[in-house]
Subunit: 225 residues, 2 copies
């Protein structure tokens, strides 16, 4: 299997080179980029929908929505008011990679964008290995999953800067324990920033929107300086 | 990238050879093997726990529980009364493969087993490509995920024989539509057998247990003939 490992290393190093180019391209325009990762069904698209709904008037958000098959997520984001949404259909691949991002990036009007959100394929394993040139990975976990997910999928939680605990309106409908999930996550990554929210009821969204605003705000402030 | 594709094909063909050997080994002992696949958090371990709880006295069930990291799931299955449980920690790999199965199989007393359940890594993409020598793949989806999952992850639903819709006690807490998920699944795989259940409330479990019994029953009947 060593031949396979060598090829994987080569693919990853090619990916890293491309990711570095993307990062430079975004940084030159002071665009903050977030890579949203989670299991299928944790609510990435829902969170992006309500974020667009709330901030679309004040911020210019570019979106890249990846799926194995269908453009369902991209269409949902367009319906939610997304003005600059590009789908990537991986056609079987279990993650987005930097090459896919660099192909669609020229289709977005980067000079007009404050923030770039990338919605990765729903998968808690493979996307953790592929740098897309983002500033931060945001990992979602929902209260209907097990609270030991950070321990079982440590790579993703280690490489993320932010953890969003979604569907808090369903707390109590399972054994999911809020303190335990945070403790588990911080055992893997002590510096993880945590948001607790429900896209359905709106609980906790203000803090999330505030943080998103602060990312873009930084850019606008800088450009005035 | 063609070099990578060639290597992938080689890995898959080696996997298929091993899977064929495993299948022959199980068939010789009339053991029916199920490969449980789903997103992280759909409830594979919960379903196996309650199945063990209900059928442990009448059937000998061997279990192989795969996880990227931790033996949490294997430990839960042991606590649920599993007598023959073996963990596989993939250490980063996003799926089980036939080589991993063939390494732990000798640790199970195959002559005493009626059924073999393999709990795959939580991932709706990669495990679909790896035959483990099972008779059937059982894909789980829970009502807290999107009902378009079969369209977005068609490979898994196409290669599965059974779809378990779990957490039906939470129906109504989201936009998940039972008819739509079945319609979506059958567009991908018209022959899919469907169970609707809740491990939490017990709803629908009798039909599931009955089907599991019928798989083992077939074996016991045959051995009398």
């Amino acid at each position: 299997m060593s031949e396979r490992v060598t090829i994987e290393k080569k693919v990853l190093s090619e990916n890293d080179k491309l990711a570095t180019q993307i990062r430079a391209q975004l940084k030159a325009r002071q665009i903050v980029a977030l890579n949203f990762v989670s299991s299928p069904g944790s609510g990435k698209t829902s969170l992006l929908e309500c974020t667009l709904g709330a901030l679309n008037q004040e911020l210019q958000i570019g979106l890249i929505a990846g799926d194995v098959q269908t453009e369902n997520d991209a269409n949902r984001l367009l319906r939610a008011g997304g003005k600059m949404v590009r789908p990537i259909v991986t056609g079987g691949a279990c993650h987005l990679d930097a090459r896919m991002i660099s192909r669609v990036l020229p289709e977005l009007e980067l000079d007009k964008i404050d923030l770039l959100f990338v919605e990765n394929v729903g998968n808690l394993v493979c996307p953790s290995s592929y740098d897309l040139g983002e500033d931060m990975k945001v990992v979602l976990i929902s209260t209907t999953e097990g609270d030991d997910k950070p321990l079982k999928y440590p790579g993703m939680f280690r490489r993320s800067s932010v953890m969003v605990i979604n569907k808090i309106d369903l707390l109590g409908s399972s054994d999911f324990d809020m303190d335990r999930v945070k403790e588990n996550a911080r055992r893997i990554n002590a510096g993880l920033k945590v948001f607790e929210l429900s896209c359905r009821t709106g609980q906790g969204l203000d803090a999330w929107f505030g943080w998103i605003r602060s990312l873009a705000h930084t850019k606008k402030q800088r450009s005035k300086e």
